[in-house]
Symmetry: C2
Subunit: 87 residues, 2 copies
């Protein structure tokens, strides 16, 4: 499934959260990653995030779509990640 | 349609971009807004953003889905905006 994650965490944890999420997803903008993962991987991601973040201070939003075709993406200005081939 | 916008703009323009987008969408996290808009409103939003941002420095990503039912949203940690009723 297609997953989009946006995070707003204490700056002490920003690098750790980014590094962790990059093992599953593609970085597309400051604090935003996307990618295709399985249900099992998403469960892993959520469990990992719960371990490395502070749920009283941090906020992470996970959007998921069964197929990425339900979502279109458009960029105004700079495309920060040239690798992404999302349409 | 459902629209999700994430922005990464020069700090000089952050407040302006946020204020502008708030006239159409709900703020849900740092640099992230979502909402239901018409095609006409989305055209307006894009045109407004092009005027107030610097396309050589800033990056704004617009995700859109014809129906928000195609997308589910889950939050880990704090929900910054209590008003949102997206399921």
């Amino acid at each position: 499934m297609y997953v989009l994650i946006v995070y707003d965490v204490n700056e002490k944890r920003v690098a750790k959260v980014l590094k962790y999420l990059r093992t599953y997803l593609n970085w597309i903008q400051n604090s935003v990653l996307e990618g295709e993962v399985t249900e099992g991987q998403l469960t892993e991601i959520k469990s990992g995030l719960k371990k490395i973040t502070n749920q009283k201070e941090d906020s992470i939003i996970i959007f998921k779509a069964r197929h990425k075709k339900w979502l279109t993406k458009e960029i105004i200005g700079q495309e920060k990640n040239e690798i992404s081939n999302f349409i």
